[in-house]
């Protein structure tokens, strides 16, 4: 795919005025360093021991070019070090965008290649520190163990934008194959590292977003349908089972002068079937919501409050059944997080964030940083700092 784009570009450049092609060339990026210290439980490295952890580093670089008014290419690479979870460079998106219909008020088109998955307000730019509302995204809606499936998919996206008298409507429909490194999800699902491997098959996503004319009101409805299949290993207890995850997310935001209120609600159904006698069929329903308020104290300083709740199963909110089934503590089945944050942007390219979280539950923690769930603590505190630069 990527080679194809390069070839097309080279061909085009050799047949036209190079200056007009490069005229539309743009490059942007960001650098982000986080610091985490917690009373217990690890976040992005060994945050609960010694002087905390500098275990979150993110560097992004992208480029885009529009050789014709209907056609553009965009590519982004991200280096991410996140505790024991990631330490790699990935191709975040690489796509060809063809706007086949454009009246100014209406655009319709298709994107081909590796495309970001449209989920909620923040997923498509979740690794860009300036576009997310906190250092740590709300745990339930942007569930960390589903992170790799959420990021992007190789496939196609159809889009339709319409500008009307009451604001803009923006529809995206995607189909593709998500990134396949989903070890975290596999361990979360089986409660241990099973001999086989869980692989994503297809993902279908749709998001409809509305924004009023001034930009103060935003609403979004996202639907996600992802199929996973299990490829059993040797001497495996499980058969080649399937999981279908379907979720619906409703997001809303309202700004009133210096106050911004943002919230979302998620309902997720996971259909688990054909894993054999050791893993009976089930259809747990997960639920999550958050409400965040941000207030602009001065033009450069913002204070924020957030309450965020996530339940792996809405019918087992205290985690009793989960604990009986898996032998893990009850608090592994939920997270309730109260956050207080400060956000300082002294210059439009620099940002410093500080966050304090009071957390009850551990359902979002990574196994890579917390290999022994039974050693986890139910009630804990997390303090995080983040310095970010953009260009």
């Amino acid at each position: 795919m990527f080679k194809g784009i390069l070839l097309l570009l080279t061909l085009y450049m050799s047949h036209s005025h190079a200056s007009s092609v490069f005229d539309s060339f743009q490059t942007h990026g960001f650098i982000n360093q986080g610091y985490f210290i917690s009373s217990s439980n690890n976040v992005y490295g060994k945050s609960s021991t010694g002087n905390g952890s500098l275990g979150l580093t993110e560097i992004g670089l992208n480029a885009s070019i529009r050789p014709f008014s209907q056609l553009s290419f965009a590519i982004q690479g991200i280096y991410r070090k996140a505790g024991a979870l990631n330490n790699d460079v990935r191709l975040d998106f690489a796509l060809l965008d063809w706007t086949f219909y454009n009246t100014g008020d209406i655009q319709a088109g298709i994107r081909l290649g590796r495309v970001k998955n449209p989920i909620g307000f923040f997923n498509e730019t979740r690794d860009m520190p300036f576009t997310r509302p906190s250092i740590y995204l709300p745990h339930g809606i942007y569930y960390e163990r589903l992170r790799n499936i959420y990021l992007s998919a190789d496939g196609a996206q159809f889009y339709f934008n319409q500008s009307t008298d009451i604001g803009e409507f923006d529809l995206k429909i995607s189909a593709g194959q998500p990134l396949d490194d989903i070890k975290e999800l596999e361990i979360a699902f089986f409660s241990f590292d099973a001999p086989g491997s869980l692989e994503p098959e297809d993902a279908y996503l749709a998001k409809l977003e509305y924004e009023n004319k001034s930009g103060a009101t935003r609403l979004a409805l996202s639907y996600v349908d992802i199929d996973l299949s299990y490829d059993p290993g040797t001497h495996d207890l499980f058969d080649d089972g399937d999981i279908t995850i379907k979720m619906l997310i409703l997001s809303a935001q309202q700004r009133i002068d210096d106050l911004t209120l943002t919230g979302a609600y998620l309902r997720q159904k996971s259909v688990v079937s054909n894993f054999g006698p050791f893993f009976p069929n089930s259809t747990p329903i997960s639920e999550s919501y958050y409400l965040q308020g941000q207030y602009q104290l001065t033009p450069t300083l913002q204070v924020g409050l957030r309450y965020d709740v996530a339940y792996l199963s809405k019918d087992d909110k205290d985690g009793a059944s989960y604990s009986a089934l898996t032998g893990k503590p009850k608090h592994s089945a939920f997270t309730k997080d109260s956050m207080l944050s400060l956000n300082w942007i002294p210059h439009n390219q620099w940002m410093l964030r500080a966050e304090y979280h009071r957390i009850n539950g551990t359902s979002f923690l990574s196994y890579a940083d917390n290999p022994m769930p039974n050693a986890s603590t139910k009630n804990w505190d997390l303090f995080a700092l983040q310095l970010s630069y953009r260009f």
Binding site: N62, S64, R66, Q76, D92, F93, L95, T131, S163
Partner: protein, 149 residues
């Protein structure tokens, strides 16, 4: 009980999202002297700065310049000329750039750099204050007339 100020603010927000931009303290829209276009509809202007349109009405590619989010002239341009809060533009451009779905205008340092870049390039659009433009030689930039409808 929710205060009266809250309702006032809410009413303001609702009204703000309906009213047409006023002409009062707005910035002037300027283009390169080579650009043949002299008049743009308000709709067209919004499409251009929302990155929905990548060409001038005659089909030539367009290059878009802005000042930083906190610049007073940028704030005026955003609210008065386009009728949107500056954060709407920032959100739109950031989403374009960092999700691979579009591009953003090119950021310039200040008004004098804006005038310099617009007057010396071929396909550019930007904005400047009336005062700054009145101090320029005739024809160094093309001041566009923006039609409300």
């Amino acid at each position: 009980m929710i205060s009266r100020t809250f309702y006032k603010q809410l009413i303001f927000i609702v009204l703000f999202s309906c009213i047409k931009p006023s002409i009062g303290f707005s910035a002037e829209i300027i283009a390169s002297p080579h650009v043949k276009t002299t008049t743009l509809s308000l709709e067209n202007l919004r499409h251009i700065f929302f990155m929905r349109r990548q060409e001038w009405p005659d089909g030539t590619p367009i290059k878009i310049y802005v000042l930083s989010d906190n610049n007073i002239l940028h704030k005026e341009f955003s609210k008065e000329n386009l009728g949107v809060f500056p954060y709407k533009l920032r959100r739109l451009w950031d989403r374009n750039v960092f999700s691979g779905t579009g591009q953003s205008p090119i950021l310039l340092k200040d008004e004098s750099e804006m005038i310099k870049v617009i007057s010396t390039s071929h396909r550019a659009i930007g904005y400047a204050s009336k005062e700054a433009i009145s101090n320029l030689n005739q024809g160094s930039v093309n001041v566009l007339f923006i039609k409300d409808k």
